[in-house]
Amino acid sequence: MNYLDFEKPLAEIEGKAEELRAMARGNKEMDIEEEAKALDKKAADMLADLYKSLTPWRKCQVARHPDRPHCRDYIQALFTEYTPLAGDRNFADDHAIMGGLARFNDRPVVVIGHEKGHDTKTRIERNFGMARPEGYRKAVRLMDLADRFNMPVITLVDTPGAYPGKGAEERGQSEAIARSTEKCLQIGVPLVSVVIGEGGSGGAVAFATADKVAMLEHSIYSVISPEGCASILWKDGAKMREAAEALRLTAQDLEKLGVCDRIIKEPLGGAQRDRATTITRVGEGIEALLATMDGKSRDELIAGRRKKFLDMGSKGLAA
């Protein structure tokens, strides 16, 4: 279990309870169960208290928690017959982006998502979920495929942002993102997007220009990272707490602004504490959102999606 900085007191109590139980296992005569249970209770209360109202910055930390389920986990658990399709047909296959054909509740779909990796080796392989132009071009290709064969598209968003690298720029990072966003607006099939962790700027929009956008309770979606915003507007990267507050990047604020259509509740203590429940709930969320588009024609879908974005933000936080 990885603990976040604000969970340190909790880590101590949970650690103590664990220690006691370990001691008791070594020595059968010791009766520690009562004491351990008291510690458990204390820990549970503290957890409930900590997660009752997370500040925006703490939500950023939870959204980036390394133990949260990632794209790969959702694909494994929620989809059957997942058949990855690789490559952009121009230059490379981007491992930061997973994608391919699969069945969602038996229905053939195209699933696309950012994968961050879960240990050092896979994180490097996945480039920490930061896609290069090839990733967006692969996504465009897959969305085209979905469009031609009338399959809904499901995107799972979890990226710090598009990769800021020399090669990525030379091969047209901005153009690739722009084309992916454009493709999202052109396809005549349902497009559901779930922000499962971090929705980092243009790298997220390229997949999240969807009919319906769901967000996990403690996920974030922002034009810039709080650290980046702090270093530009506060001239001090350490002011990320203030920046996180000002940017209104939580699922709750984004629902008020009309950017997020549905919040998927996380288990107490965040998705990382109960991955299975989180994944199940995301599955239910996707199913419910897909159902809202049943029976809609291609033209209705395209026109509806465009209208949604044209109207977005017209009321600000008062919406």
């Binding site: 598009a162 020399k166 993102i177 722009a178 607006l185 990047l249 933000g313 017209s314």
Partner: protein, 314 residues
């Protein structure tokens, strides 16, 4: 948070720098350091006469030079809810806006106009880098949508001059949402079969490049403009190596296949007319120093007609 560094020093500095370069008479070229007389510079469309460096040009100055006789009619842009997030960093967003409005004399970071260039009717939109870095918020999004709607309504091509540091952080996620919104605007043009030409000027970066500024039917850039998604400093911090000379500049992008053309500001009007008339199936333009077109009902009064600086060779 020291009042000496924050308040006193800038004031002292501003006094000295003002004395060094009398603001209204001379400008120094940031590229070659040549002192340029302001009249000479503006007659040359803010291009350095010494080294051809293209300095920022406000949308109004650009339109005055671009449209025949300097005449154009502004297209009204729906004004969005001000300060939608109640954003506050070290300053309040409304205060930053007021300062920018005072500093530029403009309402926001984009100007949309309709008019004729060499008797070819177009809609043009230009971003103002001097207004909060040209940043893209709800207003800029509305401006591009208004420009596209006007173009579709009148069946005219749209020319867009981009210049921006990226999205306007003070509008948070709503600034990010301008990426899909402006993409919808571009789609309106494409579906109506109307040309959409983008002229990228220095600098065009971030979410602006990653949406409407890279979706043109024809992509032209002014020389040596910085055009990128992630800025060079961010990249250097990420990969920890120095970047090659000219990286992310117009000519570099042209070499890497990201642009159609790199065109000097003085030749831009001719080139736009040539391209647009071909794309819209019109006969070749009669090029020259054309006077203002016959005034229409909504055309604004002609500006004091200065000699057009653009080099005419039609």
């Amino acid at each position: 948070m020291n009042w000496i560094t924050n308040y006193v020093r800038p004031r002292i500095n501003s006094l000295f720098s003002r004395r060094e370069v009398p603001e209204n008479l001379w400008s120094k070229c940031p590229e070659c350091g040549t002192m340029l007389f302001h009249r000479e510079l503006s007659d040359n469309l803010n291009v350095c006469t010494g080294c051809d460096h293209h300095m920022p040009l406000t949308p109004r100055a650009r339109f005055e030079a671009l449209f025949d006789g300097g005449v154009f009619s502004e297209v009204q842009v729906p004004v969005p809810v001000p300060d939608p997030l109640h954003f506050r960093d070290q300053k309040k967003y409304p205060d930053r806006m007021k300062a920018a409005q005072k500093g530029t004399g403009e309402f926001e970071a984009m100007l949309v106009a309709e008019g004729e260039i060499d008797r070819t009717r177009i809609v043009a939109a230009a971003q103002d880098f001097t207004f909060m870095g040209g940043s893209m918020g709800m207003y800029v999004g509305n401006a591009i949508i208004a420009a596209a709607e006007r173009a579709v309504e009148r069946q005219l091509p749209l020319v867009l001059f981009s210049a921006a540091g990226g999205a306007r952080m003070q509008e948070g996620i709503l600034s990010l949402m301008q990426m899909p919104r402006t993409t919808v605007a571009v789609q309106m043009l494409k579906e109506a079969g109307l040309p959409y030409v983008v002229v990228l000027t220095h600098p065009t970066t971030g979410g602006v490049t990653a949406s409407y500024a890279m979706l043109g039917d024809v992509q032209i850039a002014e020389p040596n403009a910085l055009i990128c998604f992630a800025g060079p400093r961010v990249i250097e911090q990420t990969i920890r190596e120095t970047l090659p000379e000219g990286f992310q500049r117009s000519e570099y992008l042209l070499d890497h296949g990201m642009l159609d053309r790199v065109t000097h500001r003085k030749d831009m009007k001719d080139e736009l007319v040539t391209i647009l008339r071909m794309l819209t199936g019109q006969p070749p333009a009669v090029k020259g120093d054309l006077p203002a077109p016959e005034p229409e009902a909504e055309t604004s009064a002609p500006e004091a007609s200065e000699e057009e600086a653009a080099d005419k060779n039609g």
